[in-house]
């Protein structure tokens, strides 16, 4: 139930509902989209970015908050640890226990390598767990990997590394098959056909889902499989610095127990960074849909050791974060709500855009509606627009919401809002790190030998924006590939002496560039504790 302040606008939304359902809004032209993004998308706000003064991307601009953590001090000095007596010694060390790390672990294990996962919270505490809407794969007769390629390449502003995107779309159906064989329960009809829908910017209905717990269903299955295989998972332990060998190749990591702060050494023949995203950096002060540990750690680890970043200046603001009630401010409202037919409606009850534009365009459009056009609804903690969820029941029949998006229904129900009967208020929320570490097709970084990357920590798979459902896909495709390749490579690696010399070298660069900072990184967790 909404209080009095919302009632006038709500009545307008209700009155226009039938007409709005029937109304087919036009999609924007390429030029309209460009102009909209340039004026309203946060990535285009020049004063929110800083030029990097040191490291492999010297001269590039990244968000202030990322620059600060990339150009910060290490948490340790080389002499703090004894590299000669490692606490763990494995073929493949995987940093991060989300979807990418778990997929990598399973495949590395299949390849016969000794493999270990280290994760700063628990296995499964990851953005994968929170992905709601679905996973793309071109497996329907009217679709093809080539059509998927065009959708993703255009949606990413023609900036994706094509060899990475080729791999993403061509390996997609097999990724779905692999998950299905592990026991992931995709939504199917009685004949076994996948029930698929559109996402923003898709030209075919290729979004596979497991209700609106798609990521959770995938993550808990992968986690179960990792445990079944007896793969060691060292939890509540963060990687805080990569270890190199005397040839400059990746050779392990310094680990820190998150509770006791004990330092540990893990030696490995190959290392996979699968640390995920950065929503908890709260770029430009945005709320986020990300999990508690999304603090760009992998980017910091890789960058300090000499790995290059690609498109680190591009972030994805998911158009529909919850804008009300404030307890769930910024939480994800899955794009699937729009896939199922709900439209975005302004204060006056007008549909102001096609609901399935790409995410960057949709976010910019909502920001415009709430700023210059002044058609937003005051939520008490900012502005928002309506997402008219009751349309779904009218289009798909009663019961559609409970069946297809139960998590959304539950999330709002806890605050007395029945999304089957009442619309919800949304505003963009920081959702995804489009950029990340630059890799070649085999998932190895371009700067550091034997250092692999998979998942959200990679840059370049999607370009400068990502389509819904291509991230759950990339963690599986690139996670599996990184696991296989790192395991294979480990067979021929002869480690020389381990070193942490790069810490002092980076420290010297900080000094020479005249950077004065007392920040240490990686950040590990955001600081939400009130100063008392």
């Amino acid at each position: 139930m909404y209080s009095e302040q919302f009632q006038k606008s709500l009545k307008a939304v209700e009155a226009a509902r039938e007409a709005n359902i029937a109304f087919e809004p036009q999609r924007m032209t390429a030029q309209q989209k460009e102009e909209l993004l340039a004026s309203y998308h946060p990535d285009y706000k020049k004063d929110e970015f800083t030029e990097l003064l040191i490291g492999p991307n010297k001269g590039d601009k990244v968000p202030h908050e990322l620059a600060e953590t990339l150009q910060a001090h290490s948490r340790i000095k080389a002499e703090d640890v004894d590299l000669a007596n490692p606490d763990y010694d494995v073929d493949v060390l995987i940093i991060g226990g989300g979807g990418a790390g778990s997929s990598a672990a399973i495949e590395a294990h299949n390849s016969g390598a000794s493999v270990m996962i280290v994760t700063k919270l628990r296995i499964g505490d990851a953005n994968t767990m929170m992905a709601e809407g679905g996973i793309q794969a071109a497996d329907k007769p009217n679709d093809s990997p080539a059509i998927h390629f065009v959708d993703a390449f255009g949606g990413g502003h023609f900036a994706a590394k094509r060899e990475l995107l080729r791999k993403l779309v061509c390996d997609a159906p097999e990724a779905i098959q692999w998950l299905s064989n592990l026991g992931v329960e995709f939504d199917k009809d009685a004949q076994g056909n996948m029930i698929t829908t559109h996402g923003g910017g898709t030209s075919r209905k290729r979004m596979h889902a497991a209700k609106d717990y798609s990521g959770a269903e995938i993550m808990r299955t992968l986690r179960d499989e990792v445990i079944n295989r007896g793969i060691p998972v060292v939890d509540f332990t963060s990687a805080i610095e990569l270890i190199l060998d005397s040839n400059g190749n990746a050779a392990g990591a310094v680990l820190m127990n998150m509770e006791t702060k004990e330092l540990l050494v893990a030696r490995a023949k190959t290392v996979i960074i699968a640390t995920g995203g950065a929503g908890r950096m709260h770029y430009q002060g945005f709320p986020t849909s990300n999990h508690y540990g999304a603090t760009a750690d992998g980017l910091v680890l890789g960058y300090r050791a000499g790995a290059k970043l690609l498109y680190a200046e591009t972030l994805q603001y998911h158009p529909t974060g919850a804008a009300f009630p404030e307890q769930i401010f910024g939480a994800l409202v899955t794009e699937k709500v729009r896939s199922l037919g709900a439209k975005l409606v302004n204060e006056k009850g007008e549909v102001f855009m096609h609901p399935l534009e790409t995410r960057d365009v949709a976010a910019a459009s909502i920001i415009r509606e709430c700023s210059d056009r002044d058609n937003g609804i005051d939520t008490g903690s900012g502005k928002g627009v309506w997402l008219d969820t009751p349309m779904i029941e009218k289009i798909g029949g009663e019961g559609t919401i409970e069946k297809r998006i139960p998590a959304m229904m539950r999330m709002f129900e806890k605050y007395g809002i029945d999304i089957r009967k009442e619309p919800i208020l949304v505003y963009p929320t920081l959702h995804y790190q489009n950029g990340g570490l630059d890799i070649t097709e085999d998932c190895m970084t371009t700067g550091v030998e034997n250092l692999y990357v998979a998942g959200e920590a990679v840059g370049g798979i999607h370009g400068r924006n990502r389509l819904m459902g291509n991230s759950l896909l990339d963690i599986i495709v690139f996670g599996r590939s990184a696991g296989r390749n790192a395991a294979e490579k480990s067979k021929s690696v002869e480690l020389s002496d381990l070193t942490l010399e790069h810490i002092a070298k980076f420290e010297k660069e900080i000094e020479e560039a005249g950077i004065c900072t007392d920040v240490v990184s990686p950040k590990l967790l955001p600081k939400y504790t009130r100063e008392v």
Partner: protein, 224 residues
């Protein structure tokens, strides 16, 4: 001015604004969370919490990230609970109730007290899905348990020592892999890709100048 309420975190009294979730209230009180905090959005089950409102006999359970504080709320978080997770090879597993008798025989010791259902932070009918598991109806068990976040509160209340979330996990995997109908169009597509059906099309896209890719994208046909 914010309205303040008194909450008792592990028995100690703090005054916090009444619009906060339990998780935010802990941070407001000065806690720096490492355990008991994961997705902060109701999906990961890290922040299982048990509480009682002063004067009320009933113990309630919730997720700390999804629940607003109340006045005189006594809060104990349950950041870890020792669930029993049996290991198995998904490739070599029985798909009948035999597997439950073998791996989780304690489910047959359920006394029907329904404490699990009453405690579920997701409002699931936990006892019912265990009943389905007992008789090998894994499809129903999977459906009934689907929204489980594996927080473990149900198991903490179970006199029979059942690890409900792990039982359901097994049922869902069996259902997903073996019992749900197979998908022909998926198998066909995987084979087509292996056979190189799309190689030429994709390789043409790899070479195409960006201007032509833009034209292709902007004029593509979109399925209704």
């Amino acid at each position: 001015m914010e309205n303040m309420v008194n909450v008792f975190l592990f028995g100690k009294k703090y005054s916090v604004p009444d619009n906060l979730t339990i998780m935010r209230a802990m941070e407001y009180a000065g806690y720096e969370l490492v355990r008991g905090c994961g997705c902060r959005n109701g999906f990961c089950g890290a922040c299982a919490t048990i509480y009682r409102i002063k004067g009320d006999k009933e113990l309630k359970a919730c997720l700390a990230c999804q629940t607003k504080v109340e006045d005189n709320m006594y809060v104990a978080t349950l950041p870890f609970f020792p669930l029993v997770k049996e290991v198995y090879d998904i490739e070599k597993i029985a798909t009948t109730e035999q597997v439950m008798m073998q791996l989780y025989p304690e489910i047959y010791a359920c006394i029907g007290c329904n404490a699990c259902t009453k405690a579920c932070t997701q409002g699931l009918n936990v006892m019912q899905y265990i009943a389905y598991a007992q008789r090998g109806d894994f499809e129903s068990c999977a459906e009934e348990s689907f929204d489980c976040v594996m927080c473990g509160v149900c198991s903490s209340r179970c006199p029979a020592g059942i690890s409900h979330p792990q039982v359901a996990m097994l049922a869902r995997r069996i259902n997903g892999k073996y019992l749900a109908p197979g998908c022909q169009h998926l198998e066909d597509r995987v084979k087509e890709i292996k056979d190189g059906t799309f190689t030429e099309l994709i390789e043409a896209l790899m070479q195409k100048p960006v201007e032509e890719m833009k034209e292709l994208y902007n004029t593509r046909d979109i399925e209704k």
